[in-house]
Symmetry: C2
Amino acid sequence: MATSTVENYLKSILRLQRRSGSTAVGEVARELSLTPGTVTTMMRHLSGEGYVDYQPRRGLRLTPDGESAALRVVRRHRLIELFLVQVMAMDWTEVHEEAEQLEHVVSDRLIDRMDEMLGRPTRDPHGDPIPDAEGNIVAMEALPLAEVESGMYRVVRVSDQDPDLLGWLDEKGMTIGEEFELSHCNRAAGVLEIVREEAERLQMGMQVAERVFVESVSA
Amino acid sequence: MATSTVENYLKSILRLQRRSGSTAVGEVARELSLTPGTVTTMMRHLSGEGYVDYQPRRGLRLTPDGESAALRVVRRHRLIELFLVQVMAMDWTEVHEEAEQLEHVVSDRLIDRMDEMLGRPTRDPHGDPIPDAEGNIVAMEALPLAEVESGMYRVVRVSDQDPDLLGWLDEKGMTIGEEFELSHCNRAAGVLEIVREEAERLQMGMQVAERVFVESVSA
DNA sequence: TCTTTTATCTTGATTATTCAAGATATATGT
DNA sequence: ACATATATCTTGAATAATCAAGATAAAAGA
Ligand SMILES: [Mn+2]
Ligand SMILES: [Mn+2]
Ligand SMILES: [Mn+2]
Ligand SMILES: [Mn+2]
């Protein structure tokens, strides 16, 4: 019976601790646009509930219980996003906000109906992996376009946080599965260029390339 | 930006004032399983926000603003219920609870998508009228089966509050649109009997007949 | 090491929602 | 009309979530 506030905290912590395995009060505060004091109070609470390990000034991490609770919310979020795109024909730019609300109230029954209707999918509309009902998730090792060498690549994931970015990518056809060649990459100038079908060129800035994840195309 | 708590109060008041045009603190308290004191506090608040007219000890009623806010929630609730039955193939016994949650968080965009997908429907799965986007609602003057004379009738609406009742009705094929003949009605014994295709008979108690609404079949 | 900056923590206050218990008004029955 | 029952109201307290501002610890720089 975690409240939606708690569910959002857990999801944020899961995100933030992905890198180093742990995170800090300040990072959570920034991520959720709250004051550090507010987060400290909540960490004491979550620690008491057994969701996080929290040592004042030493950082925090999810307990196994906290992690599975967080994965459950992530699963719901991503299934809902895919449902909204696939079944409701909504745009991939707008489903994140909607899922952000629905993830807290949709029943397990309905989630399972969606899962079934979608054929037990493993990726959401932005390429993020969907954890299964037990919380198992396939690791993704795609790299940001900003960090790879010249060569042939395929878009496998894009950040779903910024609707403007998603809108632009959609307009340019840079959706999941799209293949292209990375031609130039001028890190100093902060610009890079890709080439697609019929020698069509496309430039983008590093902030954008930082949010588009690709895998190398063997062919 | 009414909170879901407020939305639930408004919906309850709309229901309760349907009869006499107004209602009382105690009735709202009973309906929502709250103490009278809690409701009094909320009525002061809703009155301040311009949603209800509240004179202490003299009862309360929705203002025009309150009524349209309430109708908006009712519209969402019923559209969601129909969507869950029609599109998600859920059972009419379980959609009420689900809609009770979803009605507060689904975006206008998504509601409109459902409305469109369902072909701008006017009745929910239990036969209740769905207000249009402006809050217009077609009045229903169906009578409870418990209050009509012998004759031919058609089920046009059933109370959606009790899943057990819905389950039994479904099992017996007493769904919306079903036609039958009311043969006996022993009000004293609290039992009545109906006859359908092939002389099939079905008895039910008054508490049940009180919750099944019918209209007379001319033929 | 000493100073400054940054991160984190603590405290006191606020808003929303609710209940328990006691006070008061209204309705009912004789 | 008077006593009793019922409905409603008031008050005081609790919980969840949050912020502002001031205190303190840790990190970074000189
Ligand atoms: Mn998302
Ligand atoms: Mn996504
Ligand atoms: Mn309902
Ligand atoms: Mn209904």
